[in-house]
């Protein structure tokens, strides 16, 4: 078949909000994903695109969201387009209504599209969610050979290492993630995988 037809809501989520449309459809010319959630959910996690250099266009398909870009809030009902051309801008979006779906399209100007390590991070997180920490850490190590600065992969690798009792490796991975993305400290504080080394984690990310 030379084409694929899907309903966005039928694309399974990886994690609580994320639909990996690009991987699901096999898109190779640009990045495209979707996030879905209900009132109060942070469905676009705070991040910037410094590592990828991506321009990003967000399209609110359903519901109602509130975006925050570099600390400035923007109301975004269904049909709103939010284009962030500055890869360094910090951005996030929270659903204000149930059944809010945001389509995200991204790529770097002047370069052929290359997949972001973000997608790999979701792959590693799925091992964590399944309790298969050994396989998750092994896969993360493979990915980090190609994307050594991908902080979400580093973070999930740290979770795997902590679950496997590899304290030093976990702390080293977590510190590398934290240096690249300071919000890792807040995320790690709520992550049960680090409970066995909580004191060390708190000290390392202080």
């Amino acid at each position: 078949m030379s084409w694929t037809v899907r309903q966005i809501r039928d694309v399974p989520k990886t994690g609580p909000h994320w639909r990996s449309l690009r991987l699901e459809l096999g898109v190779q010319a640009f990045g495209v994903n979707s996030t879905h959630g209900h009132a109060g959910d942070l469905i676009v996690l705070e991040h910037d695109e410094s590592l990828t250099g991506y321009e990003e266009l967000y399209v609110v398909l359903t519901g109602h969201a509130s975006f925050e870009v570099n600390g400035e809030e923007t109301d975004a009902p269904a049909g709103t387009l939010v284009f962030v051309h500055d890869a360094g801008a910090r951005r996030r979006a929270r659903a204000l209504r149930d059944d809010t779906e945001i389509l995200t399209i991204g790529a770097a100007p002047g370069e052929p599209f290359e997949r972001s390590g973000w997608e790999y991070a979701y792959e590693v997180s799925s091992y964590v969610n399944a309790g298969d920490y050994g396989a998750g850490l092994e896969r993360a190590r493979e990915i980090l050979l190609e994307y050594p600065y991908d902080w979400p992969v580093l973070y999930w690798a740290a979770c795997c290492a902590a679950r496997l009792g590899r304290r030093d490796e976990s702390l080293e991975l977590l510190q590398r993630a934290f240096e690249l993305e300071p919000t890792v400290a807040q995320t790690a504080a709520l992550q049960p995988a680090f409970d066995s080394i909580r004191g060390d984690v708190t000290a390392a990310l202080a």
Binding site: S2, R6, Q28, A29, F30, E55, V59, G79, G110, P112
Partner: protein, 208 residues
């Protein structure tokens, strides 16, 4: 400002062709440089995606039905597409079109070429030029700086608008350049194109 926002309903509305298609430019509105993206709107029975292939630009395309309902026709096969449907077309040669079924149907189109950096395509200019008087269309094409003018399609369209505007010499110059750039494609476009009637004898001589 590191970001910009707009609502789909606020985008410019540019009628294209004679089948009720309305182009809502997004890429040019935000000056997006990394991928192609635009929206199209139509009322029931009208075209919401014009019939075409992507062979000229080699683009992989993805359509998202944002609101309403459309019927896509892909290589002759019909596909029902209510709001929330994604139609992904990795193969540029697939002939594609869509007709709106519900009032206010809006379809988002995203495109780019695999393995290559995105470049804005001059069809955006041709869509804008379509409803203008020929003299204004010529000026729009000649003064544009954001698109690659050294393509057969650009020079061919320039030739057409110059011919319609009565600039025979300019039309022939652009036509010859288009033919140099892609003889096969120009041979496919020119024979039945009434835009070139005023320079038909010269066109036939180039094609001979």
């Amino acid at each position: 400002m590191s970001y910009e926002t707009a609502h789909l309903s606020e985008l410019e509305s540019i009628p294209v062709g004679d089948r009720g298609l309305v182009w809502r430019p997004i890429r040019s509105r935000f000056d997006i440089r990394a991928f192609g993206v635009n929206a199209y709107t139509a009322e029931p029975g009208n075209e919401v995606v014009e019939e075409h292939t992507e062979e000229t630009y080699g683009h992989e395309e993805m359509y998202v039905v944002v609101s309403g309902r459309a019927t896509f026709t892909l290589n002759g096969e019909e596909v029902d597409a209510p709001a929330g449907t994604i139609v992904h077309l990795p193969d540029p040669s697939v002939r594609r079109t869509a007709v709106a079924r519900d009032p206010g149907t809006t379809v988002l189109a995203v495109g780019g070429k695999r393995g290559e950096a995105f470049e804005p395509s001059a069809w955006e200019l041709f869509f804008r030029a379509g409803k203008l008087p020929p003299e204004e269309a010529v000026r729009l094409l000649e003064e544009s700086a954001a698109y690659d003018k050294e393509t057969a399609s650009f020079q061919y369209n320039l030739a057409c608008y110059r011919a319609l505007a009565g600039d025979r010499d300019g039309a022939l110059e652009a036509f010859r350049r288009a033919f140099e750039l892609s003889p096969d494609r120009v041979r496919g476009w020119a024979p039945g194109d009434s835009d070139l009637d005023s320079i038909r004898a010269e066109v036939d001589a180039v094609l001979a």
